[in-house]
Structures are given as structure tokens and as C-alpha cells.
Subunit: 341 residues, 4 copies
């Protein structure tokens, strides 16, 4: 069997497991106050180029989104997201459960339609009855998006300008951030992203960690009481060292970036194979997720030998399926896939 189902199908990168094993029996204080967390956070701030940032290690993406978003919104405010955004669809209503509306706007290839967002904000401001409406107070983007696509630097700057004009905060969900940064099409660096956003997170779970996401508030303007909110949302691990050790390993010797590069190299190779096979692409993705349209019968046959994700029905006879590479993808498995197809 060949495995291209997702980027969390394996455990941790060996360097991470090793760091966990090395430090395993050393007693450390709990809840993120240990030296591994401190070291990881210092390295992350350095990598982001924002020494005054506040940074926190949380345990998962949904919790991170929920904690960050609810920390920044008043109870009468909501967050704008693409219809296809993770918080719009696949977090079990976590944002609404925290009391806030996700204002879902049109998406183009998985990206928030920036013109639609601007038009929405303009209309909200002009509406005499807007006091009866949720105030849009944040723009949420995922980078890369759930469909593997990327915002260009120019688009990010446009989003920043819109947020400034209408007094919103800009939040980037970087569950797969390393795969974005390593893409040849990505024209923004981690430091530039940090300079453009009010808050973002650096995903660990899909980038070789067992668990963990690092939230960064580049301006260092968060309330120290956000710890209570992290606790309330169940994202404050007693053994914070589990997160500290992993991010410390990921941000040592640029491991995080190297893992991204490997996955992207594998994705490029995979894309070439799929193209040679005459596969029809659902959209052009420059990162580690590749979407192709296949006949249903072919999909069933392929399932015998390859693990991939069913994405959605395309039409009566076709489906969209997803192939994913990651830090763990072995080049040989792509060669084997080529033989198979």
C-alpha cells in the first residue's frame, strides 16, 4: 500500500522523538513554564524577527483558532472567513460555540475573495441598521489554504490595508505554514508574514510534531491573562514540555523549514507524475496538497493500492481526490505510484 492520505499519517520526525526521549526523565515545572518551552519560544521569536512578540504553545489547531479568536473579539463581534475556511466548515462549530459568528464570504480556489470582503465591510459601514448586525472585527485566512493555495504578498498587503481601514485584526491559520513558506510560488517570508499579521500560528502537528501549534502575537500586545483563556479552552498542557521539546527541535537548525522543503520537493515530483499520467487537476496548488479529478471506477480501483483522501463529488461519474506529501514522504513511494498508474 502507498500512503498519500494526509500530512499527519505518521508520528513525529525522528529528531523530535529524540528530543523527547533525551529530556524525558528530567523533572520540569508544568503548564509551559519549563525551559524547553522557553527555549522554543525564543527560537520562534527569532525566526519570526519579532523579539517583542508574545508566543504560546497550544495543543491543537481548533483550540488555537478558538482561543485566539475569542481572545480578540467582543461578544458582539464576528470573524470573516472564506466559505471553505477551516473554521467555517471543519471545526465542529468551535467558533460559534465560543459565541461568535463566522461571517462566511465567497472563496476563490480556497482563498477569501478579497474584493468580496472589502465590499462586505463597505456595505456594513454604510448600513444604517448595522447595529443589529454582528460587527466584523477580524479577517481569518489560512496560509496555505485548505486547497493548498497561497495568498501573494500583494494580496496579504491588501488584506492588511483593509484591516487597517476598517479596524479589523488579521489572523493567519498556519496549520501547514512550513509547506507554504517552502513553496517556490510563495513570495512572502516568515518575517514578512509576522509583520503583516496581528496574530498567526505556526502549525506543528502537520509539520512533523505529534501535536502542537505555536501562536505568535508579533506586537507582543496580548493580555498576560490569555493563559487563563488557554486553560479554559483546554489547550494548556500539564506537561507543556511535550510542546516545548517538539518546537525546540523544529526550530533548531531550521528543521521546520527543511521539512517544508522536502515535502514541497516531493509534491513537485508527485505533480509531475500525475501530469505525465494525464490526470486532470482540480486546481493548481503550489504546496503539498494536490487535487485531481478521477472517474469513480478508477478511484475505486486505485483505492486497493493507494491511500488518498476523497475530497468531494465532482459530478455523477467523477470525484475529486487529494494526494498529500509531507516531511515523511519517501521518494520511492512516488516512483511506485508512477508504476502503478
Amino acid at each position: 500500500m502507498l500512503y498519500f492520505e494526509n500530512d499527519y499519517q505518521e508520528g513525529a520526525h525522528p529528531s523530535i522523538l529524540e528530543r523527547l526521549a533525551q529530556t524525558n526523565l528530567t523533572p520540569m515545572s508544568g503548564y509551559g513554564t519549563d525551559p524547553l518551552c522557553a527555549s522554543a519560544i525564543e527560537k520562534i521569536k527569532l525566526a519570526c524577527g519579532c523579539p517583542d512578540a508574545d508566543a504560546f504553545l497550544l495543543s491543537g489547531g481548533t483550540q488555537t483558532n478558538r482561543t485566539v479568536i475569542s481572545s480578540l473579539l467582543y461578544p458582539y463581534e464576528g470573524v470573516i472567513a472564506a466559505k471553505t475556511g477551516h473554521i467555517s466548515v471543519h471545526e465542529g462549530g468551535a467558533i460559534e460555540a465560543s459565541g461568535h459568528k463566522v461571517i462566511e464570504l465567497q472563496a476563490v480556489d480556497g482563498k477569501l475573495d478579497i474584493d468580496a470582503a472589502e465590499a462586505y465591510l463597505k456595505a456594513y459601514d454604510a448600513d444604517e441598521n448595522n447595529s443589529h448586525m454582528v460587527r466584523p472585527a477580524m479577517i481569518y485566512i489560512s496560509f496555505p489554504t485548505e486547497l493548498g493555495t497561497l495568498y501573494s504578498k500583494k494580496e496579504l498587503q491588501k488584506l492588511r490595508a483593509i484591516c487597517n481601514e476598517y479596524a479589523l485584526t488579521l489572523y493567519a491559520d498556519g496549520a501547514r505554514l512550513g509547506y507554504a513558506l517552502a513553496s517556490p510560488e510563495c513570495d512572502v517570508s516568515l518575517r514578512e508574514l509576522a509583520a503583516l499579521c496581528d496574530v498567526f500560528y505556526i502549525g506543528g502537528t502537520k509539520m512533523g510534531a505529534l501535536i502542537g501549534e505555536a501562536v505568535v502575537f508579533p506586537k507582543g500586545d496580548t493580555s498576560p491573562r490569555i493563559i487563563t483563556l488557554i486553560k479554559q479552552n483546554g489547550a494548556l498542557l500539564a506537561k507543556g514540555r511535550l510542546l516545548g521539546a517538539q518546537f525546540d527541535a523544529l526550530f533548531t537548525d531550521e528543521l521546520y523549514f527543511r521539512l517544508g522543503e522536502h515535502a514541497i520537493a516531493m509534491a513537485e515530483k508527485l505533480k509531475a507524475v500525475l501530469k505525465r499520467m494525464g490526470m486532470r487537476f482540480y486546481l493548481e496548488s503550489p504546496t503539498n496538497q494536490q487535487f485531481v479529478i478521477v472517474e469513480n471506477a478508477a478511484m475505486q480501483a486505485l483505492r486497493e493500492k493507494v491511500k488518498f483522501s476523497f475530497w468531494e463529488k465532482y459530478d455523477e461519474n467523477h470525484s475529486v481526490i487529494r494526494f498529500v506529501t509531507s516531511w515523511a514522504t519517501d521518494e520511492k513511494s512516488i516512483d511506485a505510484l508512477e508504476k502503478l498508474l
Copy 2:
């Protein structure tokens, strides 16, 4: 000045004020346990043809929607509504504040696109990852809709069938229910509506009361503890008699229905006047709200003499405006409007 701004611009129908005055100094027990509430509820159950119903008098539409919806959903469930639905747009995020997602689907002339709803439910059921998604557990409709339109009996039956098939509840927001029932295009009676819905409310505020909405659970299957939820949502008035007296008056001698009929007769006349004047209608509305498209300059001129609602921008030079009739509309004001135009 002529007044067609909305159906809550006056106070109460004189019969209602009178009932309040007559009973004003009689001591009664609080929180809806008084004889006026009891009498009103009996009359409402009779009018709905469901003697076993549970019925409650609440203080406002947003509270009613919030209380009813949160009483029926598990924390991982959401409610389907048209994009233009009241709970989607104009309740300040009240449903989300109670923890639930409003799943906004396409609207056609203010009505939920039933095919879109069915397709959504079918796709949800077929989605292998739907445990990561909010479960759609209720369909919310407004009857009439925010744009004055009506679902036909056949459409309501279709909605009922869909709810049965996918195990959802059907909830009708009847803020302006009396104006629907009195419309010549309405092919469903109050009793038929009660038979089709799991829960609905009979609006008072826009139908001649000062305040108040009557919620009906036709099958009488509500927890008696819903009173605690009504209290929690601030919808349980200490002086419940204020609601009891008003609904008692509204459901005496069919006042509620007569008020609806008057408003519809006035709306028909108004529509004829607007048509004679060559006004361009935004959509065909069979109830008491009429929407027309006017040039911006003409709109400004009209504002000097007539109160109406600005609805939305139509294009650079045109706006959609709304004229509303109600139980209080005086025929002479329509004649005066004709002269003016």
C-alpha cells in the same frame, strides 16, 4: 408627513390598550402564572387547533428565536436558514452567542432555496468527515419572509418531508404571521401551519401589540424546564400579564386575523397606487411589505414628505426602498401618497 416606515411605528391597537387599562390594578401572580396568560394561551391553542400544545408568551423576536433554537439543539448542532433570514443577519449574532452555528444557505426572493437545503443535507450525510462539521438539526424559515414573500403549502410540505427524512425540526418565525395568513396568496391556514411545524411563533409586536410573541410547540413535547431557559434568556417578564392581556385581546373575536386583513387590504391598495405611478418593483410581495426601486434623487425628494425604509443600494443611481402597511394604516394616507407621487 406620511408614515410607511414599518409595522411597529405606532403603539398598540386600542383594544389591547383597553384590556391593559381594565385589568391594570387587579393584583395577579407573576412570571406568566396569571389568569390573563392562561386565557390567552387557551385561545391560541384553540386557534391553532392543537389542544395538547405547549405555548409560552415571550417578550421579543430575537429572544424567542434564541430560546427556541437553543432549547432544541445539542451543542454540536446548528440551524439551517436562508442567507437573508432574520437570524442570519439582523439579530446581532444571538444564535451564535447561544453557541450554535447558523448554516446560511441560498435564498430566492427571501425564501430558503429548498433544493439547496436538500442538497446540503444529502451532502452532509454522505460526507465521511461530517463528524468534524456542525450537524444540521433544524430548518428555520420566516413566514412571511423578511422580503414579504410566502412559502406555498406545497413548499412547506416539502420542507416537512425533508425534515422527516434527515431528522431535523422545522421552526417558523412568525413575527408577521398575521400578515401572511391574511394574504390572498397564502394557501395555508394557521392550523395547517401548526400541523406542519415542530414549533413556530405568532408575532405580536408587529401585529398590534406593544411587545410579545407567542411560541407554540404543537405536539406539546417541550420540557417544562424550558421556563428556566426562558428566564435565562431574559424573556420571562415579572409582569407576564403584560403579554397575557395583549394576546388575550388579540385572540378575542379574531382581532389578530382582522388586523392582518386590514393591513393586507391596505397593502393591495398601496401596491395598486405604486403600480399606477409606474414604480418598478424589486420583487412581487403578497404581504404587507412592498419593495420598489427608485432613483436616488427621487428617493431624497420623497423623504421630505414620506417615511419609508431604505432597504439597500440597487446600483450606483438606484436604491431599493420599502413601504409597509400595518393594522394601523389609514386608507387616507395612501390616497395622500398617490397625490404626492
Copy 3:
């Protein structure tokens, strides 16, 4: 039957009904933007001696508490209240439903034990693990309390000082504020209360209105977006005039204060009667609620002729019962009660 059950057993004071009737058919804009609301708010600000205040008319006490409290707390913050406070016991968990903990502390005769509050705050500040605890960010008091008792000016100043020291806001629930202000034992004026609190509300429902509570933020430091929160909590009436007319009447010719004085005069007379009858008082209440301890058999006998409230079981053979006077209490009913006892 004689009626001393509560202070909301009648409808509205005749002057209020009259104001409603006079203005009933005049068309006015909705949601609190009408001239009656504007006039009422001006008069209230004048009476409070704070011309720069923000003031809002809401529809009920539970909603008001919920809206005000949730408007001022971050999601990781809670509110300190006496164990016997209204928000602690009798609002169906409304504050918790908005996501916030009510930190219930010891009460003495219905009043928050100020020393206990100070000790709690001191211990919280000193606790190394307090980031795992809800931050106490507000003190809630009711004035008068649910047991009819009053905080002295000195006590209010102490609460103010504590709030300043620990960075909390001070909020007074004035559901029966008029009965406090009219008490001979009250040594604080409305203006002084306004100067001491960050926010408070002037109760209407129990002071002769059909419905309605006026929230005052004396410093005028509220977000204008609080209107969206009021809407979300279902406290923004379409016919805001219903609240405007009533508070306009209450704050014309000092009606609000005169109603309080009448009720207190009646309470003094009632207290004298109860004392003459040898009744045992549960506690000394200087306002319109009087609590006495009676034998269960005597209580049952009395119920045949008098409406009062059962308050709580005292011991196996005795109960605490409550007699309440109000703006509507007729002196003759007290004379009749004396004859009866």
C-alpha cells in the same frame, strides 16, 4: 383577599398608562431611537447628575444583568456576588450562559460580606496558580438587596476602594432602587450612587412600570456597539417607545421618587403592625420587603386571606414569609391586615 405578595402584582402606575395612551398612535422610529426614549434618557442623566453618562433602556432585569456584565468582562473573567445575590440564584444561570463564572461569596443579611470579598481578592492576587482561575473583574451588588437591606455610604465607598485597588468594576443592580433611595436608613443619594459605581441600573418593573430597566454608565465610557449586544440579548425592543414613555413618566415631577416614598411609608406602617402583632422578624429590613418567621400552621391559616411570599423553611415547624409593599399599596389593606392578625 389582601395582597402583599410582591411589588409587581399590579400593572402600571396610572400616569404611566396615561403617557402610553397619549402617545399611542403617534408614529415613531423604532429600537429606542424615538423622542420618548431620548427625553427619558435626558431626564435620567439629569437625575443622576451625570450629563456625560451613557444610558440605555432595556426590557428586564435578567437581561440587563447579563448584557451589562458580559459587556464588561473578558472571556476569562468573572463577577463576584453575594451567595444570595439575584445573579447567583434566581436568573436561571444567565451569567454562566453568557460564559462567565459568578464567584459566590458569603452574604450577611443579603449583603456581600465586604471583608470576605477583600480577602478573596487578596488571596487571588497572591496565588501563584491564579492563571488557572477565573479572574475576578467585577463586583455585583443589589441595592437594596434581595432581603431588603442596604449598603451604607461607607460600605459603598469601601467597595469602590477595593474595586480601585484590584482593578474591578462596581455594578449595582437597582431593580428596586427607588425603594432604597426612599428609605430613612439610606444615606446615599442617586447622584452619590452614580459617582461610586461604574454602572448601575434603575429598575422600572418593580417601581410602577409594566416593564423596563434603565442602565446608566455614569462615565459615558461604553462602546456604542453595546447596542448590538443589547440586541443579541433580546433586550432591544422594536417598540422602544414602550420603555421611553414609561421612564419619561417616571422621571417627570419626581414620580419615581414619590412612588418609592409611598412604598416605604407603607412598609413602615406594615412593620409597625407586624411588630404590634408580636411577629418575629427574620432580619431588620429598612425597605419595602419585610420578612417574618411564622409557625407553619399559622402560615397556612393566613394564606386563606392574605397573599404573601413563602421565602424559605426556617426549621421543622416554622417558615420565613415575605410581605411586600409597593407604589400600589393601599393603606387600607394594611389596616385590614391588622384586623385580621
Copy 4:
């Protein structure tokens, strides 16, 4: 430095790390659908003697409490807990954030005062105004408690009987369950506990895992949609294998029970040392947490050489401090402590 600060100061038990390493590169499906989770759950159900149970692996205690409690309560319901219970004090208001009141009742040595609970429920049932109060619908206990104490089988049976009588569910927080079960004073087995509770969780984090808690609904009566709630609360790990592998190791060859036994043996030895030293115990704890009262000066001196937890101020000159043993405690460190004291 000697370490007795808590039972989560080290990483994972070596067998657990080993299981993680062995399985690390095997691709598995996500979100708890992997074979390690399946195996762990089977073993847990077997150990609990309830083959029909529903069991889920969640990521942390606060999340588990929040998810379980909110899955079982209606929005107008609350949970009874001891004032000193974890959900009452140290979860940052997580239960209230999910909309539910924690009804805090008196505690005796960290245990819910069962008589107080029964009296509360009786009074609630008898209260005519209880529809204005949160309905108590669950009893939460921690086993062992936050102070290391244990409920006897008789006490648990009494709680069960009370829950049956008043229609509440009984939930046991077993963050340190293994330390309870291994105590010589514990007269209840895991199977008996499972038979008495409606739901409980088996703590992993404090019992040698890096992270993870196993929730068991012994009767198997949970909605399958609870997965959506787990996701919403951020407790559904993409790499569910991290939890599966750990619990699979813990429930292989009775490791979980052996770790408990080791910690209790160490606690007994520690207790003997502390007694020999003439230490004054704060209370008698039969599990792995020991609380002693020390002079403040002695506490400061001890801090130079030993890590322990400051628990609370006892009086002006004394403090309560906590020593904790765990699966990882080395007997030599206790010998060293004896020499030191």
C-alpha cells in the same frame, strides 16, 4: 535538588515512549480511527468490565470535563461540585464558558459533603420558584480528590442513590484514578466504579502518559455525535495515535495499575519519613499527595533543596505545602529527603 512537586514533572513512562517509537513511522488514519486507539479502547473496556461501554481518548483534563459535562446537560442545567473541586477552581471557568453553572457546595477534606448535596437537592425540589434556578443535573466528584482523599464504596453508593432519586448523572474525574485504585484505603475496584458512575475518566497525564485522558460511558449510551463535540472542544487530535499508543501501553500487562502501586508505596514511605520528622499533617491523605503544615521560615529553607508545591497559607506564620509521589518517584530521593530533614 529533590523533586516532589507534582505527578507530571517527568515525561512519559519508558514503556510508553517505546510504544510511540515502535509505531512512529507506520502510516495510520487520523482522528482516533487508528488501530492503536481501537486496541487501547478494547483493553480499557475490558479492564472496566463493561464491554458495551463507549470510550474515547481525549487530550486533557479540562477539555474532558468540559466536553463530558456539556454533552450531558441541557442549557438550563448545572453541575454540583465540591467548592474545592477542580472544575470549581482551577479550570479557568471552562464549565461556565460552556454555558453551565458549577453549583459549588461544601467540601469536607476535599470531598463533596454528601449531606449538603442531598439537602440542596431536596430544597431545590421543594422550592416553588425553582424554575428561576439552574436545575442541578449532575454530580461531579474527583476520585481521588484534589486533596488526595477518597470516597468509600458506601459513600459512592450513597451518591449513586441520590443521583437516582433526583434524576442526576454521576461523573467521576479520575485525573489520578490509578493512585486511588492502588491505595490500601480504597475499597472500590475499577469495575465497581464503572458500575456506579454514568461516566468517568481514567487519567493518563498524571499516570505516566505525556498527555491523554480516557473517558468511559459504561452503559454505552452516548450519542455518536459526541465526536463533533470533542472536535469542537479541541480534544480530537489529528494524530489520535499519540493517545492510542499511550493508553495501549498503559493497559498492557496492567502497567497502569503497577504505576499506581509504585506511587502509593512511595507515598507510604514518604509519609513515614514525614511523620518521623515530626511534621504536622494538614489532613490524612491515603494517596500520592501529602500535605503538611510548616513554618514559613522552614519552608523557605527547604526550597533550596527540595521542589514541592506551596498549597495555601495556613496562618500568619505557617503554610500548607504538598509533596507528591508518582510512577516516576525514585526511592532514593525519599531517603535523601529524610537525611535532609
